[in-house]
Amino acid sequence: MEDHFEELLLNLKQVVGFIFPNEIELHWGLLIVVYPYVTGLVAGAFILASLERIFNIEELKPTYRLSLITALAFLFVAPLPLLSHLGHPELSFEIFLTPHLQSAMAMFGFVYIWYLMVVLLLEIWFDYRKDLVVWSRNETGLKKYMYKILTLGATDLSDRALRFDKKAGKFITIIGIPSAFILHGYVGFIFGSVKANPWWSSVLMPIVFLFSAIVSGIAIMILIYGFTTLIRWKKFQMGCLDKLGSYLMYAIILDLSLELLDFIHRLYESEESIKIISQMVSSRLFLSLVIIQLILGSILPLVGLVLVRVRPLPDELRRLIYFGSAILVQVGIFSTRWNVVVGGQLFSKSFRGLTIYKVQVLGIEGLLMSIGLLLLPFVILWALIKIIPPWPEAETVVPSAAAERKE
């Protein structure tokens, strides 16, 4: 506690202008930056999978299942930064007991459960059911029982049942897309609805969050597809990568134009807060907003991706550009989340001064914790890949019951 006070006292010395005395403590730190970043990856990866499914895009087949379980892996981690940031995580169940319906945050639990149980898990279950049944028959020992439980007792492999799996999967995808929009648009709304904070309060916030989520989701799928293909010694399907690359480009263009619209709108309206906000952008946020988010995270990858489309380049170089852009985009989107969450708290609500935020290394709100939370989804993804391999070659061929009957 003493350390905390000393640190606040040091921060107090770096305050520029006037802040309200209670504002020296910055309440939503690195963990809350991680939260929308991870949720964004979930929504983005899921939307990518849904595009493949609804529009039947042949090139993206190799990433369909991979996207789904990537989304699942990140979704498992999404509530953890929130939970560990709470003052009383042991009371978090209250959000289910007495959700305050007027509160944007109260719905988090329900939106999350809906998305996890009704959308993602169901879609994955329907998609994998026949494999689960086959595996439960072929495997031995513990694995056999695990798969048996996962089938939920629905072991029907008749043609009709399989057709139903497909239909149900498609139906869930259709309700899944708006759900993914809700999940991440909702995260944007948590910030966008705070009228006390001019940096957050914007109708565009949910939409900007959504498109940046799609950008980050596509980029992470390029990276995960690339990495898993490399370590499995498989050949790259350039058609798939090209498609992902072009989607990434369109998504960045949309995202960037929305963000620019938001920016121009603020500048043009030039409200009471414009002075302190421009002061913040040109000082405390210059590196993370202008350099990292805008130049490194948006413009540079965009240039690369456009280059790929206007000039025929060799496969090797194209891959390099795709991976490079994807990494830059990840850094850029993380920076975007940082600028929203931390930026919104760097200026005083008196609009007269700027405070400061220093990331700690240790502790629950520290850097190590956040890195751990960002690595955790990959561990989960690895485990999921072991349990339900997403590779096309792992897909089982059902000994068609219908065919047998005909004979």
Partner: protein, 255 residues
């Protein structure tokens, strides 16, 4: 065949039970929700509606209110946690505004400012505005902060999960996270005092009667006189929070 049929009916019976169980629970739940939403006014025998008036022209910036508040409510001593604080505004001739609140004003203000170029200068006591339309209550996900029926916004310390959304939502910087309880904390209008007929601690110790506490729209309330003899303004009126802390002679520079 016969056995089959029997099995089916038993299964059906179980199914029906299973279907009806949550339905019954749902109904019971819905009933309780509706019952909960109708307030039982009989428990509040005297209807109050509290508010505070602040006469800026009377505040001398002595910071006794800040001290008294910390003592009365065991607010942590460190200068990062305030339920009430005092700001000093110095508006210069060139419209440059200098605001400060060292230690929340609790140790007074240094008098060593140069008088050259000052157009006007004054003190402004601040505290939770106990808005009639409180953004903090709106955003609390679990119902741990709420408006009482007498118009006071309170925090349920045992129920708060410490998410700090309310701190973000407050436009006035009136809330802080109590470092010891890890819950949101703020001015209660000294609820434990006013319900016993006393004044809030800050009002009690104010030597110039710059703070006036009472009931809004009660003829005998000191606030009635305050409303009659002063032009009154609230902080950030454009946010439509409808504060219940009113300022007389509030300067436009105060935010």
């Amino acid at each position: 065949m016969k056995k089959d049929k029997k099995e089916l009916t038993r299964r059906e019976f179980l199914k029906k039970c299973a279907v009806s169980a949550p339905a019954v629970l749902l109904l019971a739940e819905a009933e309780s929700i509706f019952a909960k939403n109708s307030p039982e006014l009989s428990d509040h025998k005297e209807a109050h509606y509290f508010g505070m008036g602040i006469q800026i022209d009377k505040c001398i910036g002595c910071g006794r209110c800040v001290n008294a508040c910390k003592l009365e409510n065991s607010v942590p001593d460190e200068p990062f946690y305030f339920r009430t604080w005092v700001e000093r505004y110095v508006v210069q001739v060139d419209n440059e505004v200098i605001v400060e609140s060292p230690h929340g004003g609790g140790e007074g203000f240094p008098s060593n400012i140069s008088e050259k170029g000052i157009a006007r200068t004054f003190f402004v006591p601040k505290l939770c505005n106990h808005c009639a339309n409180p953004p903090c209550v709106q955003v609390c996900p679990v119902g741990a902060t709420f408006s009482t029926q007498d118009g006071v916004v309170l925090v349920d310390e045992d129920y708060c999960i410490g998410c700090r959304y309310c701190i973000q939502a407050c436009p006035y910087g009136a809330r802080y996270l109590n470092p010891f309880t890890k819950t949101a904390d703020k001015c209660t209008f000294c609820y434990h005092r006013i319900k016993k007929g006393s004044n809030p601690a800050c009002v009690e110790v104010c030597p110039t009667k710059a703070r006036i506490f009472g009931e809004i729209s009660l003829r005998s309330s000191p606030l009635t006189r305050f409303f009659r003899f002063n032009k009154v303004q609230v902080l950030k009126p454009y946010l439509n929070t409808e504060p219940r802390v009113y300022y007389a002679n509030l300067d436009g520079e105060v935010r």
